[in-house]
């Protein structure tokens, strides 16, 4: 399995080191051709306007959309904005997930916060017991609405949505790459495994 991290701008190196810690092969993606060899892609935190403009300038928008239609993509913070259909302002978006987001929904940097979240999908034991996921929100977006096939994965205690999934696409408004807790990365790798098994009937077959 090979995972790409979109390396136009932002904290792609943090995702890379989390994945490498899990023994996964990782490559940085800056140009369309670099999408070919990978099974899944992470769009990191950063500035969504910067990443979007660079994706347009280097003809990555169409290839990223085609990639996301076939294979898993996970967007954290800026990456979640890029995956959305609607960010309530004009900026380049991939529109792959049926969610709308509000940028900087919690305010400016002094309002950035850390909080514990319940994420039932990360439950590891059969009884469904779980540790909370410690989440870091930095000038974070909020997922305002989840429609169609998209499902809510986690909310703040007041019900506001901060993580969503639509098939093999994943969006989190916080940064699991900054906490050292690799459960979300492992969850994404499971999505990649499933997607690989579906698209490649020979996967898992011993020759």
């Amino acid at each position: 399995m090979k995972i790409g991290v979109l390396a136009l701008q932002g904290d792609f190196a943090e995702h890379q080191s989390m994945l490498e810690g899990l023994g996964v092969q990782v490559s940085q993606v800056r140009l369309p051709g670099q999408l070919e060899a990978i099974d899944g892609l992470i769009i990191p935190g950063g500035e969504s306007t910067t990443i979007g403009k660079l994706a347009v300038d280097f003809n990555l928008m169409e290839p990223l959309i085609s990639f996301g239609e076939a294979k898993p993509i996970w967007g954290t913070c800026a990456g979640a904005i890029l995956l959305s259909k609607d960010a309530r302002r004009p900026q380049p978006l991939l529109g792959l997930m049926d969610i709308s987001v509000e940028r900087n929904a919690f305010g400016r940097q002094v309002e950035s916060f850390e909080a514990d979240l319940d994420v039932p999908a990360l439950s590891e034991s059969r009884k469904g017991e779980q540790r909370p996921f410690h989440a870091v929100f930095i000038r974070a977006p909020l997922i305002q609405e989840v429609r169609g096939e998209a499902k809510t994965l986690s909310t703040l205690p007041d019900g506001r949505i901060v993580a969503a999934q639509e098939g093999h696409l994943l969006a989190t408004s916080f940064h699991p790459e900054l906490t050292g807790d690799d459960r979300f990365h492992r969850y994404f790798l499971q999505l990649v495994e499933i997607s690989k098994a579906e698209t490649d009937p020979m996967a898992g077959v011993v020759e």
Partner: protein, 295 residues
């Protein structure tokens, strides 16, 4: 657990999100819009770019809060603003405005020639300048959440930016070759906190994100600093003192992302108008050098 704000993770974390990007000096809302349009990952709001501060002389202070607020209203990307070295009340004012990062900057006239701001006291994160590893670790010891090598602001001459980046990164490489018992002598020689020396050695890099600043004027300058090993670049006078700011700003953003791809750097460098004229650093009297402010 109750939500927490103003933590070290959050302060350093915002700098992580700026990596691989270009932070541009802007003096009004129109320039801020151009910077955002060009793909800046943040803007630095200030009344005069360093080249003008240098030309005008006199005392340079924090900018008018009304001008900073107008820029904050205009763009969706993070807004930074500068306070004078040691001027903790200017820092309090900037924090109350809600700026996203404070630059305790040698570009402004220092308010205290012995002490920097105690940055642990603030919820808002700080970026500070450095010329060498000792200076960087002293600022981090005081609570800086991001560093930038100083270079020589307002010159368009990249030579000091290179000198300071090589000094910091070279010292980290030397530090990694030392034995455990040699670390205290290294800390003493550098004038740096021992615990931060140890942490830097373990990580093989500064404990916080480190950008380059001071004299970057072309796409190739930005890529040069990235290849030397910094995490991103500040461009001050280099953009809005050039012939075609939007084109140049876009080109510098693209060259910073594709810093290892000479063909792309060549391509984005074509027909972007005249670079700022610049001043050779060695033509500036030593009393007028900005980088020697702070310690």
């Amino acid at each position: 657990m109750e939500p927490q704000t103003g933590t070290v993770t959050l302060k350093r974390g915002l700098a992580e999100m700026l990596k691989g990007g270009v932070i541009m000096d802007v003096v009004n809302a129109d320039e801020a819009k151009i910077a955002e349009e060009a793909g800046a990952c943040a803007v630095m709001a200030l009344e005069r770019v360093p080249a003008d501060i240098r030309a005008d002389g006199g005392v340079a202070r924090m900018s008018d809060p009304a001008m900073i607020e107008k820029i904050m209203e205009t763009v969706s990307i993070p807004v930074m603003a500068k306070c004078r070295i040691g001027h903790f009340v200017e820092a309090q004012v900037l924090e109350s405005l809600g700026v996203d990062y404070i630059d305790e900057s040698e570009v402004l006239t220092p308010a205290d020639e012995e002490h920097h701001v105690n940055k642990h006291d603030f919820k808002v994160p700080f970026v500070c300048g450095c010329r060498n590893l000792g200076e960087a670790l002293r600022r981090i010891g005081e609570g800086a959440a991001m560093m930038r090598t100083k270079g020589e602001a307002g010159t368009g001459d990249v030579v000091e930016a290179v000198r300071h980046a090589r000094s910091v990164l070279g010292a980290i490489r030397r530090l990694q070759s030392l034995q455990e018992e040699e670390l205290m002598a290294f800390a003493k020689e550098m004038g740096a906190p021992y615990e931060l020396v140890k942490e830097t050695r373990e990580r093989g890099r500064l404990p916080v994100v480190n950008f380059a600043a001071g004299g970057i004027a072309t796409p190739a300058d930005a890529a040069l600093m990235m290849q030397l090993g910094v995490d991103g670049v500040f461009v001050g006078s280099g953009i809005f003192k050039s012939g075609d700011p939007l084109k140049r700003a876009k080109a510098i953003v693209m060259a910073t992302t594709h810093f290892q791809d000479a063909a792309i750097i060549a391509d984005v460098s074509k027909n972007i108008g005249a670079a700022m004229v610049g001043i050779h650093v060695h033509d500036i009297p030593s009393t007028e050098l900005l980088a020697s402010r702070g310690w």
